[in-house]
Symmetry: C2
Subunit: 237 residues, 2 copies
Amino acid sequence: MSEKTTSDKMLGVLGGMGPLASAQFMLRLTLLTPAARDQDHIPAVLWSDPRVPDRTKGKLSGGADPLPWLLRGVRGLRQAGCGAIAIPCNTAHGWYEEMAAEGVPILHIVDAAAAELHKVAPRGTIGVMGTAATLAMRLYQDRLEQQGWTCITPTDAEMAGLVSPAIASVKANRVAEAYAPLATVVTSLAERGATAVVLGCTEIPLGIQAGPYATLGVPLVDTIDALALAAIAWARS
Amino acid sequence: MSEKTTSDKMLGVLGGMGPLASAQFMLRLTLLTPAARDQDHIPAVLWSDPRVPDRTKGKLSGGADPLPWLLRGVRGLRQAGCGAIAIPCNTAHGWYEEMAAEGVPILHIVDAAAAELHKVAPRGTIGVMGTAATLAMRLYQDRLEQQGWTCITPTDAEMAGLVSPAIASVKANRVAEAYAPLATVVTSLAERGATAVVLGCTEIPLGIQAGPYATLGVPLVDTIDALALAAIAWARS
């Protein structure tokens, strides 16, 4: 049953967190892959289980533990024969070590974002947006500051009044509503000195791209695209 | 590890044929689902293996047999615990019986399209576009004519010069190029009396939607959306 194809590596995608972000990841994985026909694209299995308990509540406020659900997905992808796993949910990377211990290499979304950040703001002060849990865990700040960047984040009031409600809107399919609050925070970070802003929650690029984001005047790092580019590099290596 | 969620049914999606169509299927499945948070969305596993040999060549011109690849995907989805399978590739339905024999119910894309067609053109003459193999197998014509519609299809010259090249463009990520040839054929079918046109290849809605399709003046049945709606109905039943 063999036929000449470009890649024999199968990518695993642990998604569903949220499902729109993982669908967009699959779309961008396809569109960013150089291909002349179906058989040039990257084989992938997407495990999209939106039943995973809320990651932010799990980390910050005693909500149900998402780890058993995350491990079920990792094991399902391993059983399907996947050689590496991409997780288009930044907050889920708070359980990175436990998932990686299952034995399948996981492409870290912060490393993928850092690679893109190097292209638009190779040093200096950058803004990081994300869920309250991603920021509280310092998923981005610790890794990026080790590499020489200075990180600033939204204020608590901006998180509670703008970023967190916008993320919830995207998860409820009210994507267009998310633009204005997210754009306000991008602008605020730029005014405070950010020379680029990392959209460190995969709902944020969906919301920003529902409006005229190109006019915000500061380079943005889309963590969906960054992870898709890292996955393509893995598949083609 | 339980939490109250809307659906405990896991949908299997046999995709990759092409990968852009199956990513779009996941996007539309998400956007068409009434949901207020991640946990209201439908659990799904997408098996996106674009290495499946070309279905049209397999049926019409002695190309490699796609069936072993299709069965591998069906078995992978069964092993993942999926309770039904949606296949966002019309031509692959030429192997429907062999795949259904694996024991997991498969939502038939022609039945899904017929349900949508009833809403826009409940009787009369309708146009059917698809791959050369889908039309040659009469996947749509036989099922729709049994239900009282009269089907017309593109001419051989339109297939060779317009429809088949447009489908190939989408598979190669050259989506915008597909609009003009596909719009020409939609218009031609309408001029020949079609009161609606079924876009019976999942690359065709992607190509049509890259241009001003709403001005074509004839209702279109998008088989990606039709199948997503059938999948949502299954998950919520």
